[in-house]
């Protein structure tokens, strides 16, 4: 049995100075994982609609209480942010947007765009849904 040699390892995240693009990269992955679990709510909602009024009432009870509504709001933001941040990846896939200023602009664009679209959609949702 040979002694384990302590080789230097590549430093993990906390070693590095935080940058905007790095934060966006982490948020992209985190929102992806959040959306993964969020599909359970989507599936539950569709199954309830196909099952009947009692099952559907359970979903409505969940989405109308504070925690449930917060989860659906978070899901909306995660979805829109992940989409805009993903479009940023398409720009890179096509070979554009690698300059420092362009990377920063794309990062700000997806971060601000994600929040703005979420707020706009929820204003529209309350205007439409509240009127029924």
């Amino acid at each position: 049995m040979t002694a384990r040699i302590e080789r230097p390892l590549s430093p993990h995240l906390q070693t590095y100075r935080w940058t905007l693009t790095m934060a966006l990269s982490i948020i992209h992955r985190a929102t992806g994982v959040a959306l993964y679990s969020g599909t359970l709510v989507l599936a539950w909602w569709l199954i309830a609609a196909a099952t009947g009024p009692a099952a559907y009432a359970n979903v409505e009870a969940f989405t109308s209480n504070f925690i449930g509504r917060l989860i659906v709001f978070g899901y909306t933001w995660a979805l829109l942010h992940h989409m805009l941040s993903g479009i940023r990846h398409f720009v890179w896939d096509l070979g554009y947007g690698f300059k420092a200023s362009e990377r920063e602009a794309l990062a700000w664009g997806s971060a601000i765009g994600g929040i703005s679209l979420t707020v706009l959609l929820w204003i529209a949702a309350y205007a439409i849904g509240g009127g029924r």
């Binding site: 992806g32 599936a43 199954i47 989409m83 849904g129 009127g131």
Partner: protein
């Protein structure tokens, strides 16, 4: 999936065997499918948002009627297939990045497949049931 240090079974060099294939012999298929499903969802995003807006504040009967109509059912089916496929590939990348033990990694990848297929089939079943009106 042979061990990297196993003796070569042919005269071909290791580089020659993997060239144009990638280590998994399926090359860039996951990378490509991740992009195809992403483009699909970008295109479907506006129609899906419209559908969700149509359903807000409706009771079960109203929601079932809307979700069961042909164009809306098809939009939802396309979105379910694209999103579940996309999230299956994405979660596998996360698992491969963070889980280093081979057995736990394989078990997690398998569980990921089971979860995604179950979510997809449950959602597709619900849409088809609503469309057939039973």
């Amino acid at each position: 999936m042979s061990a990297p240090d196993s003796p070569p079974k042919s005269m071909r060099t290791p580089l020659g065997r993997v060239r144009n294939l990638g280590a998994s012999h399926s090359g860039t298929s996951d990378f490509w499918r991740q992009r195809v499903t992403a483009v699909a969802m970008v295109l479907l995003m506006v129609p899906v948002i419209v559908v969700v807006m149509m359903l807000l504040g409706r009771n079960q009967a109203g929601a079932a009627q809307i979700l069961g109509s042909a164009p809306i059912a098809i939009i939802m089916l396309l979105f379910i297939i694209a999103s579940v496929w996309h999230m299956k590939i994405g979660m596998q990348v996360v698992i491969e990045d963070y889980i280093h033990g081979e057995k736990l990694k394989l078990a997690s990848i398998m569980a990921n497949n089971f979860f995604c297929i179950a979510v997809a089939l449950a959602s597709i079943y619900a849409i088809l049931k609503l469309s057939s009106g039973v």
